[in-house]
């Protein structure tokens, strides 16, 4: 209702909508992240284990820890964005807990 009111006055609605739209997408990203992680970490199930073509442990280490720290980085960025949004006026409340 309040947003409709803002809409009557012109620009603010566009701004607010865009802001809350971004917030929702950041939350979506936070939701998707664990599934990306799971997908990446289930990939080793497909690796060849026998013979000369078997995946070497060094590659496995690089892959697993590489994805691990990349996911940590992504989670950190999302956490920072959520925190920034929570601080904004009209943000999602303490800790971006609201939906």
């Amino acid at each position: 209702m309040a947003q409709d009111g803002a809409g009557l006055r012109g620009k603010p609605l566009v701004f607010l909508e865009r802001q809350s739209y971004r917030r929702r997408r950041v939350i979506d990203a936070a939701r998707v992240l664990p599934f990306i992680g799971l997908l990446l970490w289930l990939l080793p199930l497909l690796w060849r284990e026998e013979g000369a073509a078997a995946v070497r442990s060094s590659s496995a280490i690089v892959f697993l820890f590489g994805t691990w720290f990349a996911l940590v980085g992504a989670a950190a960025v999302l956490s920072w964005k959520l925190a920034a949004q929570a601080r904004e006026p009209g943000g999602a409340g303490p800790g971006g807990m609201g939906e």
């Binding site: 939350i27 936070a30 939701r31 992240l33 664990p34 599934f35 992680g37 799971l38 970490w41 289930l42 080793p44 199930l45 690796w47 284990e49 078997a54 995946v55 070497r56 442990s57 060094s58 590659s59 496995a60 280490i61 690089v62 697993l64 820890f65 691990w68 720290f69 996911l71 940590v72 980085g73 989670a75 950190a76 999302l78 956490s79 959520l82 925190a83 929570a86 303490p94 800790g95 971006g96 807990m97 609201g98 939906e99």
Partner: protein, 893 residues
């Protein structure tokens, strides 16, 4: 032995250091300087109790035995934390709003504050955690032995190290874990101590790792080459176990009592979770980063047969790096102690709240109303529980012989506590989950786990006979503990996880679907599932004023006199009652119950308040009020919709009324113009001829007579018109007096036909009648009825366009007499049928004999007589039907 003495000294110093830190943190918190104690960093570090000695020592051992599988138990929790928005966020919010004290409290509170469930989960947690505590004792003991005996091969215990360690841990936990009663309050000292321990174990493992990679393996590239060249050189995992362990560790992370303690109970700011969502996976990544290099180095440097679980210690020792080894030892010691401390606190809270307190309340003579502080009872219960839990762990350690590999003991424990998962997730996401369902699921899962994994883990023949393992109990092959339903060849752990969680979840869902929850369950279910929609729920106690004093006495015993009085005074001020005791409003009782729940758990608090106040009334209104926001919105929008429909209906009515008014106005205008026209025509001729008579000279007497008779005729016409108008107006206003008298219909018709024939305009009409049917006695206004008949017959005369006009008058006698007037003319068009009864409507202009008021008057008369006159279509000519009651009923007026 000097090494051992040094180690004991270091250990004691370290323990003292932890005591000092815990003490300082508690002091700082009491002085209100605890801001830094409550930073997200400390929160994240406290989560690291997930990494117990199992992960500190056992990861390397696991890597040697099964390759990269050890990683899976870090990946699961990492995923859970990265996906905090799904589950953890909700768990933490629920924990804070419901003031939960443990996992058992969560389950019990969700399913209608059922103490039975709380006891069940408590037992499950104790049984599931005991092996884990044993594991910590074992690892500390083993690491002591490494230094003491110098025999790094056997790792056999030679003294009472484990007992001493257990006693020391119990002491620390008792001192810092039970300083205050409110389990929901932060144990600042303990949290700070385990945060420091988290740093110590990470630093220790990283230091050893860095020493191994850069000191022994020649840098990163060298290390990777050496790894490829070693026994672990090729990627090999058991796919089922890899997936199973990721799932199991994630599940266990949610359900482990100690994790729940630091994750939910000790949490005092939801935003900390946001930081932990990336910081804790990072911590886990760092903890596991150097495991493989250490394992490879151990395999290369140490003699075959060395215990790989101790490589973290023995590798530095073998290189003469005693300092590094001591640091590593401290890391392992930290891992073990922090885990045991938090686990003991969590379990003791459960045991005292869900087992001891209910028993005490039942057997104490006067129940909750006894005066005097019961806090000492609760505290004593907690302290005894802590000692009991730690000693149980010790007992398991002695019983199981300390022989099994570290990681497999941990797995047993994980699979046990994971049984809480279906009830937990079902509880916070599905309102349909019921107490019966949770009980069924937990029982099935717990039973399956105990039978297939826990009891066999003591070793063949201890609890489960050898013959059962091979051939099944009583020779029933499909009940073999490690091949249920005849599915053989599965890894025992995977076998248990799959079967127990399947049976558990299946039982939970089916029993939930089949059962009907009690009102309190439904209330709590709605509050848990929709925790983000309404953070305060509406449970309704209904108390009497006289009970406030009892409540006060009880609250003092649990919260302490000062806190309880403060709470009551605050409430009294809020209610503005004037005294110190507030009225026991539902709101206040709810708050009081939550406060008590923080100390003794939801189920006990509920029972205590219930003892004093009496039954809790959960009314239909409460249930309706809990209807989630969506339902409220739906209700609101339904109301709006109803209103708008009503508005639409009103608008339609207004439009209708408006158009009717417009029509009436048009009709009135038409009537006025009609009437002026009708009056004007005769007036014009009267005026013209009278002017001729007055002004013209020399008129013949013939002309005179002619003009005068025209004037006379027009005057008669005018009079008739005015008579008709007057007649109609009188009829319409209902002012007419009826002259009721009995008479024969045939007489009335005779008169009408005769009168119509007297008016010799129009052609002669042959009239057919049925004299026998006309012998009907009527009691009505015969003159008025005859007026109607005259009008109808005259109309036929005037308008019937047949060559030989004929009028058929048919009569159907009865209580209401029906008289039809049917001629053989052309009939009326459909449009004409609609309007002929209106005033001034004439079928055709060419024979404008009347003013067009006749039929309108007929209709008015018939309405007055309680009958009607209508046009009868489909008779081959113009036909009118007159319906008249044989006896005029006064009611018809």
């Amino acid at each position: 032995m000097t090494m051992l003495n040094t180690l004991v000294a270091v250990c004691s110093l370290y323990a003292l250091f932890l005591f000092a830190i815990a003490f300082a943190a508690d002091r700082a918190a009491m002085r209100g300087q605890a801001r830094w104690l409550r930073s997200p960093l400390v929160y994240t570090l406290s989560l690291s109790i997930y990494c117990s000695a199992w992960t500190f020592y056992g990861a390397v051992g696991s890597a040697v035995r099964t390759g990269f599988e050890y990683l899976a138990i870090y990946l699961g929790p990492s995923l859970v934390l990265m996906g905090w928005w799904w589950i953890l966020r909700k768990l933490v919010r629920i924990g804070r709003t419901q003031r939960l004290t443990s996992v058992a409290d969560l389950i019990s509170s969700r399913y209608g504050k059922s103490n039975l469930l709380a006891v069940g989960v408590t037992i499950l947690a104790v049984v599931g955690t005991t092996p884990y505590i044993a594991l910590q004792l074992q690892s500390v003991t083993l690491s002591f032995e490494v230094f003491g005996v110098g025999d790094i091969v056997s790792g056999q215990e030679s003294g009472h190290t484990a007992l001493w360690v257990a006693a020391g841990l119990a002491l620390f936990t008792v001192i810092f874990g039970t300083r205050n009663l409110d389990a929901n309050e932060r144990h600042n000292g303990v949290v700070m101590a385990i945060a420091v321990e988290a740093v110590v174990k990470l630093a220790a493992l990283l230091t050893v790792g860095i020493f191994v990679v850069w000191g022994l393996l020649g840098g990163v590239s060298g290390a990777l080459e050496r790894i490829d060249a070693s026994e672990l050189g090729q990627w090999r995992i058991n796919g089922g176990r890899w997936t199973g362990m990721i799932v199991l560790s994630g599940a266990a992370f949610l359900c482990l009592p100690r994790i729940f303690q630091v994750l939910v109970v000790e949490n005092d700011n939801e935003t900390h979770l946001r930081t932990a969502s990336w910081a804790f996976p990072l911590y886990l990544g760092l903890m596991s980063l150097f495991v493989v290099p250490i394992a490879v180095t151990g395999l290369e440097l140490l003699p075959a047969g060395s215990n790989p679980d101790l490589f973290v210690l023995t590798v530095p020792l073998s290189q003469g790096r005693d300092g590094l080894a001591v640091l590593s030892f401290l890391g392992g010691f930290s891992s073990a102690t922090s885990m045991v401390i938090v686990a003991a606190i969590a379990l003791s809270t459960m045991v005292s709240n869900h087992v001891v307190m209910p028993l005490f309340l039942r057997f104490a003579k006067r129940g909750a109303k006894v005066s005097g502080d019961v806090r000492h009872v609760v505290l004593l219960a907690r302290r005894l529980s802590i000692v009991g839990v730690v000693m149980l762990g010790y007992l398991y350690y002695r019983l199981s012989g300390g022989g099994a590999a570290l990681s497999s003991i941990g797995e047993v424990s994980f699979a046990g506590v994971a049984q809480v998962l279906p009830a937990m997730l079902g509880g916070i996401f599905w309102r349909g989950g019921s107490r019966v369902g949770a009980l069924a699921g937990l029982t099935l899962g717990f039973g399956c786990w105990g039978y297939t994994l826990f009891l066999p883990s003591f070793g063949a023949g201890v609890f489960v006979p050898d013959s059962w393992m091979v051939a099944g109990p009583f020779g029933i092959a499909w009940l073999r503990p490690q091949a249920l339903f005849g599915i053989e060849g599965m890894d025992p752990l995977l076998h248990t996880v799959v079967w127990s969680l399947t049976l558990n979840a299946g039982g939970f869902v089916l029993a939930s679907l089949a059962s009907f929850p009690r009102p309190l369950e439904r209330l709590q279910g709605a509050q848990f599932v929709n925790v983000f929609d309404h953070s305060t729920g509406p449970p309704r106690w209904s108390g009497k004023v006289a009970q406030t004093e009892d409540l006060m006495i009880m609250a003092q015993r649990i919260l302490g006199a000062r806190d309880a009085q403060a709470l009551f005074e605050h409430e009294a001020r809020r209610q503005a009652t004037g005294g110190t005791l507030p009225a026991p409003t539902p709101d206040f009782l709810e708050r009081l119950e939550r406060e008590l729940a923080g100390s003794v758990g939801a189920a006990t608090a509920h029972a205590m308040v219930g003892q004093i106040v009496g039954g809790m009334s959960v009314s239909v209104e409460d249930l309706m009020a809990v209807a989630d926001e969506t339902a409220q919105l739906m209700e609101y929008s339904a109301r709006l919709e109803a209103q708008s429909q009503e508005l639409a209906r009103t608008a339609a009515k207004l439009r209708e009324a408006n158009s009717k008014l417009t029509r009436l106005s048009v009709q009135k205008d038409a009537f006025l113009s009609q009437i002026s026209h009708e009056l004007r025509t005769p007036m014009t001729s009267i005026r013209a001829f009278s002017e001729i008579l007055r002004d013209a000279d020399g008129l013949t007497p013939q002309e005179h007579g002619k003009y005068a008779s025209i004037i006379h005729d027009e005057a008669i016409r005018l009079t008739r018109l005015l008579d008709d108008l007057l007649d109609l107006s009188v009829l319409e206003n209902g002012q007419v007096n009826l002259n009721l008298r009995p008479g024969l219909l045939s007489d009335v018709l005779d008169r009408a036909v005769a009168a119509a024939a007297a008016d010799e305009h129009g052609a002669r009409v042959r009239i057919w009648r049925d004299p026998r049917a006309e012998e009907v006695m009527l009691n009505t206004d015969l003159d008025r009825l005859s007026q109607v008949f005259i009008n109808l017959v005259a109309n036929t005369r005037k308008y019937c366009d047949a060559a030989r006009p004929r009028l058929d008058i048919r009569v159907r006698p009865g209580a209401t007499v029906v008289i039809d007037f049917i001629d053989n003319g052309a009939g009326l068009s459909a449009e004409a049928q609609d309007v002929i009864f209106e005033k001034f409507s004439r079928v055709s202009d060419q024979k404008a004999g009347g003013a067009g008021l006749g039929l309108a008057i007929c209709r008015q008369i018939m309405t007055r007589l309680g009958g009607e006159v209508s046009y009868l279509s489909g008779q081959g000519g113009t036909a009118f039907r007159v319906v008249v009651p044989a006896r005029y009923a006064v009611a018809a007026q």
